[in-house]
C-alpha cells in the first residue's frame, strides 16, 4: 500500500493527523506540516480529515462492543473503554476475552491496541504508550513507571511544562514530593496520577444507561428470520419477566438489541402503558413494531446475540379482581393492550387523549397528550352548570383567516369567505370577548383581543368566528378568523 496521510488544519497550517503503516515507515510523524512532508516525499498521497466519520465509526464499534459488556464508554477521538467487571468469566477469562475482542476487530479490518487494567487511567496509558497487557491488576505502578508523562491524560501545556522541568516519565513524578508538583503543575496532575494508580476511584460513564433488568442469549448459529427473532424475544421476555417478578416490577419500556454477525447493532424499543412480565405480550409488541418498520429489516448474515432489557419499569402489584369487578379489570387490561398494540405499530405520539389546561384562551385550553404520559391534567367531567360558555366541539389548532364583511365595524359578520366559498350569515350570537393573557406577554407583543361570534350560515353550518383586535382601539382593520365547528 502506498504511503497515505490524513491531513487537517491545525492553527494556520495543514498538518498530518494520521498515517498509514507505509507512511510511518518513511519516518513521517503526526503533527508534521504537510508542506514539509511533501518536500521530503512529493509522492505522498493525502486525504482530508473527517471527524464526523471518525466519530460514527467509533460509535459503531462501541455498539458492537456491547456484546461483551453493557458498560461501554467513548474515549474520543479513538478510544473505547469497556468495564468488564464480572463479565470476563463468561468468555473464558480475561486473556481469552481480550483475544476474542481482538479477533473480532481484526475481522472488521480494524487494528486495535488492547490493555486491561484495574483503573481507567492505567488502561488508557498502557493502550497508547505501553505494552499491551491483559493482566495488570496489582502491577499498575510498575507498568506505569517507564511510560512518558503524556500517558497520564494531561493537558498539552502541562506536558510541555513538565518536559521543561525535566520530568519525562511517570517514575520521575512518583519519586518527587507531591506538594511542590501540585503547586507548580496544578492539582489535576496529581488527580490523574492517583486515578491511574487506583488511589482515587474513577467510574466510567457508559454511553447508555444500564438497565436494572436484562437478559440475553448467545446463538451458536445466527438467525435471520423475523419469526425466529420474535420467538427468541418471547423466550427472553419470559426470563426477563421472572427477574422483574422477583423485584415486584413490570417493564413499561423494553429494548431489544440485535447484534448482527458483521458488527451492526440494531436496537428496537417498544413501550407499554401497563407493566408487562409475560414474554408472549412482549413478543406481540415487538411483532407490531417490526411490521411498522418492515423496510428496515436487514438481517444480513443473521443475528448471533439478542439482548432484551427492561429500560423502564414500574411497580406491578398483583391484581386480585373483586367478585363483581372482574369484568371491569378485564376491560381495563384489554384496553391497555389495544393502546400498546396501536402505539407499537403506528409509533409513539399517534394515540392521544384529550387533556386540559387552566386558561381561558380557547386553543390554549386544548392539549392532546400522548397516551401514557401523565403530565397533562385530565379534563373535568361534563359540567351541568348552564352558565358554562358555549364552546364548539371541534376546534382548529390554528384559526383560519376568513374575509368577512360586517354591517358595523364591531358587529357580527354578514358575509364571509372561507376556503374559497362565500357564506351568508343568517343568525349570530355574540360577541363574547376573550382578552389575551397579558401577564404572559410582558415585554413581548401582545396578541389582539378577540370578539367571538357564534354564527349560523344560510346552509345551516354553525361556526365559531372571531374578530382579532378591538376596532378603533387596537386596530383599524380587524382580521376575521374561523376557529371552531359546532355541528
Amino acid at each position: 500500500m502506498p504511503p497515505l496521510a490524513v491531513t487537517g488544519r491545525q492553527g494556520n497550517a495543514l498538518r498530518l493527523i494520521a498515517l498509514n503503516r507505509a507512511a510511518a515507515a518513511l519516518g513521517l510523524v503526526p503533527g508534521l506540516g504537510l508542506a514539509d512532508a511533501r518536500a521530503m516525499y512529493p509522492e505522498l498521497a493525502t486525504a482530508d480529515e473527517d471527524p464526523a466519520a471518525d466519530r460514527a465509526l467509533l460509535e459503531a464499534v462501541a455498539d458492537d462492543m456491547e456484546r461483551w459488556t453493557p458498560l461501554v464508554a467513548l474515549d474520543p477521538p479513538d478510544g473505547l473503554l469497556l468495564d468488564i467487571s464480572g463479565c470476563a468469566h463468561l468468555f473464558g477469562g480475561e486473556a481469552a476475552m481480550a483475544g476474542a475482542i481482538r479477533r473480532r476487530l481484526r475481522a472488521a479490518g480494524l487494528e486495535a491496541r488492547l490493555a486491561l487494567a484495574a483503573t481507567v487511567g492505567c488502561a488508557h496509558a498502557l493502550a497508547r504508550h505501553g505494552r499491551e497487557v491483559t493482566a495488570a491488576a496489582g502491577r499498575e505502578e510498575a507498568l506505569l513507571r517507564p511510560l512518558p508523562v503524556a500517558a497520564l491524560r494531561l493537558e498539552r501545556d502541562q506536558v510541555i511544562r513538565l518536559a521543561e522541568a525535566g520530568l519525562e516519565t511517570v517514575a520521575d513524578l512518583l519519586d518527587r514530593p507531591r506538594a511542590p508538583l501540585a503547586a507548580r503543575h496544578g492539582a489535576s496532575l496529581l488527580l490523574r496520577l492517583d486515578q491511574a494508580l487506583g488511589r482515587i476511584d474513577e467510574p466510567i460513564s457508559p454511553r447508555l444507561p444500564v438497565p436494572d433488568h436484562m437478559t440475553e442469549r448467545r446463538l451458536a448459529e445466527p438467525i435471520s428470520l423475523e419469526a425466529h427473532v420474535l420467538d427468541a424475544i418471547g423466550q427472553l421476555g419470559d426470563s426477563l419477566g421472572r427477574g422483574l417478578e422477583a423485584a415486584g416490577r413490570g417493564a413499561t419500556r423494553i429494548e431489544a438489541s440485535l447484534f448482527r454477525v458483521d458488527g451492526v447493532l440494531r436496537r428496537i424499543c417498544v413501550g407499554s402503558s401497563r407493566p408487562l412480565r409475560q414474554g408472549a405480550e412482549m413478543r406481540r409488541l415487538f411483532a407490531d413494531r417490526l411490521i411498522a418498520a418492515s423496510d428496515e429489516w436487514e438481517a444480513g448474515f443473521g443475528f448471533d446475540l439478542i439482548r432484551l432489557a427492561a429500560v423502564e419499569t414500574a411497580l406491578l402489584r398483583p391484581l386480585q379482581p373483586g367478585l363483581d369487578g372482574t369484568a371491569a379489570v378485564a376491560a381495563d387490561i384489554a384496553f391497555a393492550g389495544l393502546v400498546d398494540h396501536l402505539a407499537a405499530r403506528l409509533g409513539p405520539g399517534r394515540i392521544r387523549r384529550l387533556g386540559g389546561r387552566d386558561t381561558h384562551v380557547p386553543e390554549g385550553a386544548m392539549v392532546l397528550p400522548a397516551l401514557g404520559t401523565a403530565a397533562a391534567p385530565t379534563l373535568s367531567p361534563p359540567d351541568q352548570d348552564s352558565a358554562v360558555p358555549v364552546r364548539p366541539y371541534r376546534l382548529l389548532d390554528r384559526p383560519e383567516p376568513v374575509e368577512a364583511l360586517a354591517e358595523v365595524p364591531d358587529g357580527p359578520p354578514r358575509r364571509f369567505r372561507w376556503r374559497g366559498a362565500w357564506h351568508l350569515v343568517t343568525r349570530s350570537e355574540g360577541p363574547e370577548r376573550i382578552a389575551p393573557e397579558w401577564w404572559r406577554a410582558l415585554g413581548g407583543d401582545m396578541p389582539p383581543t378577540r370578539d367571538y361570534f357564534r354564527v349560523e350560515t344560510e346552509a345551516g353550518l354553525r361556526l365559531w368566528l372571531f374578530r382579532a383586535g378591538l376596532y378603533g382601539r387596537e386596530t383599524e382593520r380587524p382580521d376575521w378568523h374561523l376557529h371552531g365547528f359546532f355541528l
Binding site: 384529550l354 392532546l368 373535568s380 343568517t426 345551516g460
Partner: protein, 266 residues
C-alpha cells in the same frame, strides 16, 4: 340443507362454502359472543322504529357528511359505558378541527372517555379502527376519513363490519363526502347541516340536521330533519318526514283559509 343431508359423502366445495357463509352470517348482531347488545336511540319514534329500535351496536354505520362525527358523539354520550376511539388522519384533524374538550362536555360526552388516533394516512386509520373494533373494552369506534374516503371500499368495510361484530362496539364510518360505491354497512346515511328553528329571541336556537337514510338492512329508508337541543341534550323531529310513507303532512297547501274580498280602489 336437505340436499346436503341426502348426500353426506359427496359434499361439494360449493356446499362447504355455503355452509361457511351461513355460519358467518348466522351470528346476528344480537347474538354476539360478548353479549353486549346495545342500541343507540335518537328518541324519535319514527326514526328509531325504522332502525328496529335504534342504531345497533356491533354493526357498521356509515355517515356521509362532516356533521356525522358530532351526531355520533351525541348518540354515544350514554349508549354504552367505556372508552371511545376516534381514528382519523393527521391532515384530516388539521383541516376539520381537533375534538375540543369543553365543547364535548356541552354535548353531554365526558371528554376523558375519548381517545384519538392520528394516523398518517387513511389506510393506517382503517387498520387502527379495525384493530380497535376487535377490542371488547371499547364502547364505540368512529373512523373519520376526509374526502369521500375511498380507502373504505366494499372489502375494507366488510372487514370493519366483521370486526365490529366480534368486539360488539358501535362502529361508525364518517366520510366527508358521499361515496356512491357499495359498502358493507348496516345503515348508510347522508347528513347535512340544516338551518335551525328560530328560538324567537334572536339567538341561534337549536341545531338542526338533515338525515337521509339511504340504506337500511332492518327496515325502510327515509328522510328526517331532526333538531338537537343543547339544554335537554336530546333529539326531536323538526318537520314531518319528507318521503317516508307517512301521513301526507307536507303536501303543498290546498285551498283554504280566509278569503278577503278585494275592493276596487276607485
Amino acid at each position: 340443507m336437505e340436499r346436503i343431508m341426502n348426500k353426506p359423502t359427496a359434499m361439494t366445495t360449493q356446499d362447504q362454502l355455503r355452509q361457511t357463509i351461513a355460519r358467518l352470517e348466522a351470528a346476528a348482531p344480537g347474538s354476539r359472543a360478548g353479549g353486549r347488545a346495545g342500541l343507540a336511540r335518537f328518541g324519535i319514534a319514527g326514526l328509531d322504529d325504522a332502525l328496529g329500535g335504534g342504531l345497533a351496536a356491533g354493526c357498521l354505520h356509515e355517515w356521509a357528511g362532516p356533521a356525522g362525527t358530532g351526531l355520533c358523539l351525541r348518540l354515544m354520550a350514554d349508549a354504552l359505558p367505556g372508552p371511545l376511539l376516534w381514528a382519523g388522519t393527521s391532515a384530516g384533524f388539521r383541516t376539520a378541527g381537533y375534538p375540543y374538550g369543553p365543547g364535548l362536555s356541552g354535548l353531554g360526552l365526558d371528554p376523558g372517555r375519548l381517545h384519538l388516533v392520528l394516523a398518517r394516512e387513511a389506510a393506517e386509520a382503517l387498520w387502527a379502527a379495525e384493530e380497535a373494533l376487535r377490542c371488547p373494552a371499547l364502547a364505540a369506534v368512529v373512523l373519520e376519513l376526509p374526502g369521500d374516503g375511498r380507502a373504505a371500499d366494499l372489502i375494507a368495510t366488510r372487514r370493519l363490519a366483521l370486526a365490529a361484530r366480534e368486539g360488539g362496539a358501535f362502529a361508525f364510518l364518517v366520510r366527508h363526502r358521499a361515496l356512491t360505491a357499495p359498502v358493507a354497512a348496516t345503515s348508510r346515511w347522508r347528513i347535512a347541516a340544516a338551518p335551525g328553528p328560530a328560538d324567537g329571541l334572536g339567538g341561534l336556537g337549536a341545531t338542526a340536521f338533515d338525515l337521509h337514510l339511504t340504506k337500511n338492512r332492518h327496515g325502510p329508508t327515509g328522510r328526517w330533519r331532526i333538531v338537537w337541543s343543547r339544554d335537554d341534550r336530546c333529539f326531536s323531529l323538526a318537520a314531518p318526514p319528507l318521503d317516508l310513507a307517512a301521513p301526507a303532512g307536507d303536501r303543498p297547501d290546498r285551498a283554504g283559509g280566509t278569503v278577503f274580498p278585494l275592493r276596487h280602489a276607485g
